[in-house]
Symmetry: C2
């Protein structure tokens, strides 16, 4: 049975990327080796490593003012690494628009004076606060936000203008829409949504922000150390970097971020339009802030939600269960989810609504 | 051309493990998905995760007094995590027998009163200090050592009896010889030598040592947090865990650690005996402390060393260049290096010696 995987991450990868990785798994580029076993100091691996970085720079339009770091630990590790590296004055502002934004703020509180300057908690994170009316504090090291909220299905459509560098967790929307990197001091993202397998974390950091880490910052979390060593200070997660490189090539061949954004907008509009007109399913998010990547929805009852998830699974539409803090369902439709997958989901939703009205 | 990969890590993986991973790469266990894209909250992944842990417990004889953690960041991340988790009294002793042991001690000095109580630096780390005559301090949180020194090719043949829990970096010898885990408070190892691809780090920690982390310890480095969440606090490096699980199955099928230890002793003895009797190659390590995993050696001159590495590469014997701090060559012959690989290396060494005497 054809399976469409709507998991929020790790998430579906492009078919041709998987097939290429499979074909070359035991003998990459006639090296006689698998990428899983080659030295990270070898020329053959170094080419993969450097191509991953340069393709990402090209796809996102990242200038030489920034370093691209290939790290480990996921966004959750960056919740600590960001304050440990950037809190030189000891003060930062956070906007809390969901689960991970809240975790990021909580972790930062261990290291300095952290203020939550705006939050969408009052309406269960179904919107993004007006960024123009936020009272940011003076003299902060940075302002932190979460561009797309995986659990609640919201996204920023506009970014605040701040004096302090803007830091964003872009885990669940990186490469899905055009972003002006120059607006940010630092961007980070776990790879397991739009980039590749779990185990790789991307950090894009403006060079002038490095070199001010707190003395208690573990060496392995220091951006400057990784930047100076081209992320070969210790052994990188080589196979995940390789898969990311293949994904970047795939995206470039498709026409890049501007092109995939159109596809993403189309996929999302198909699903949201269907939900809004169904008279059966509901999405709770304010329309203008709806995520292109994560679409939460409910049926009229919790019993039907459970039945929906169970029957969808039997039909090859998997990992649709919503996050425990929201309930219902959530369809994650990242770059690699084909239009056919979204259409198959809608067809199933139609049938289910008719049968259970 | 058949390639034998003597890299110190990432290192050669068993042929049948690679072939199985390749076969199932696009459709694991009839799930319709690759392990690189499946949710870490799915049943199919959870089975992999739990089997990896239970097989490791079985192979190493790890009792219920310990937790097995599947983490990210490599041994280098543990250089910081160990003191951040264990330094509740603020004091620890380190034995420095090489490059990584020295890095571990240096990192720990950021967090407490760290003493290097023994070192082999006086003889360029060609031996292991007598563990019975070390003056360990009183009232320390732990004693740290490095069981096998990848760069210098030495290994502990006996462990000190200490009042404080013994902590060991076993990255380059884990699963290569029988170890009594009960002698240790904590064992850690990067996966990329005897376990699987880079990107996975194993920590085996005695339960009573957890829960005393320093306030500045990042949440993601806290052993208790990972233990409480069965290492699913955030997204684990799922594909590396899967490859580790396949490696553990392979080792179990071979008869386990006691059996592979015999093979490792045989492979090492072939190589050391040849070197010692060659009248051309030299290994600088005191015989009783010679590593079973990493065999450094030199020819009579640096010019010939360079020529050796270059010609060996042309003959499919790759990554033999020694670490920059030692020079010469180094053959890493981990569990997955077949006896034939060691024999092929010796044949080449014989030929090279005759041609260059």
């Amino acid at each position: 049975m054809k399976v469409y995987n709507f998991a929020p991450g790790p998430a579906t990868l492009p078919e041709e990327v998987k097939l290429e990785a499979q074909r070359d798994f035991v003998n990459y580029n006639n090296s006689g080796m698998s990428v899983t076993e080659m030295s990270h100091r070898s020329k053959v691996y170094e080419e993969i490593h450097n191509e991953a970085q340069s393709l990402l720079a090209e796809l996102m339009g990242i200038s030489d003012d920034y370093k691209i770091l290939l790290l480990q630990g996921g966004a959750s590790m960056q919740f600590g690494a960001v304050p440990l590296n950037l809190l030189s004055k000891g003060k930062a502002d956070y906007i809390v628009t969901g689960n991970f934004a809240s975790k990021a703020a909580k972790e930062a509180q261990k290291y300095g004076d952290i203020a939550v300057v705006a939050s969408s908690k009052d309406k269960n994170h179904t919107y993004i606060p007006d960024v123009d009316s936020v009272a940011f504090r003076e003299g902060t090291d940075y302002v932190h936000l979460t561009s797309n909220n995986t659990v609640y299905g919201t996204r920023y459509i506009k970014y605040p203008k701040t004096e302090a560098p803007l830091v964003s967790d872009m885990s669940s929307m990186i490469l899905s829409e055009v972003i002006d990197v120059n607006k940010f001091g630092l961007i980070y993202a776990g790879a397991q949504k739009n980039i590749g397998p779990a185990g790789l974390t991307i950090v894009i950091v403006r060079k002038d922000l490095m070199g001010k880490a707190m003395p208690v910052c573990p060496t392995m979390l220091r951006y400057d150390i990784h930047a100076e060593n081209n992320c070969l200070y210790n052994t990188p997660p080589a196979f995940a970097v390789y898969m990311a490189m293949l994904n970047f090539r795939w995206l470039k061949k498709l026409g890049g971020v501007a092109e995939i954004q159109k596809v993403n907008e189309y996929k999302a509009s198909l699903l949201y339009d269907f939900i809004d007109n169904s008279g059966f399913y509901k999405n709770p998010v304010q329309k203008e802030f709806r995520s292109l990547m994560n679409v939460p929805f409910t049926t009229p009852s919790e019993e039907l939600d459970a039945k929906f998830v169970s029957e969808a699974t039997k039909n090859g539409l998997i990992s649709l269960k919503g996050h425990r803090s929201v309930g219902g369902m959530r369809a994650s439709i990242y770059n690699a989810m084909p239009v056919e997958g979204v259409k198959a989901l809608i067809e199933f939703m139609k049938k289910f609504a008719v049968e259970n009205k």
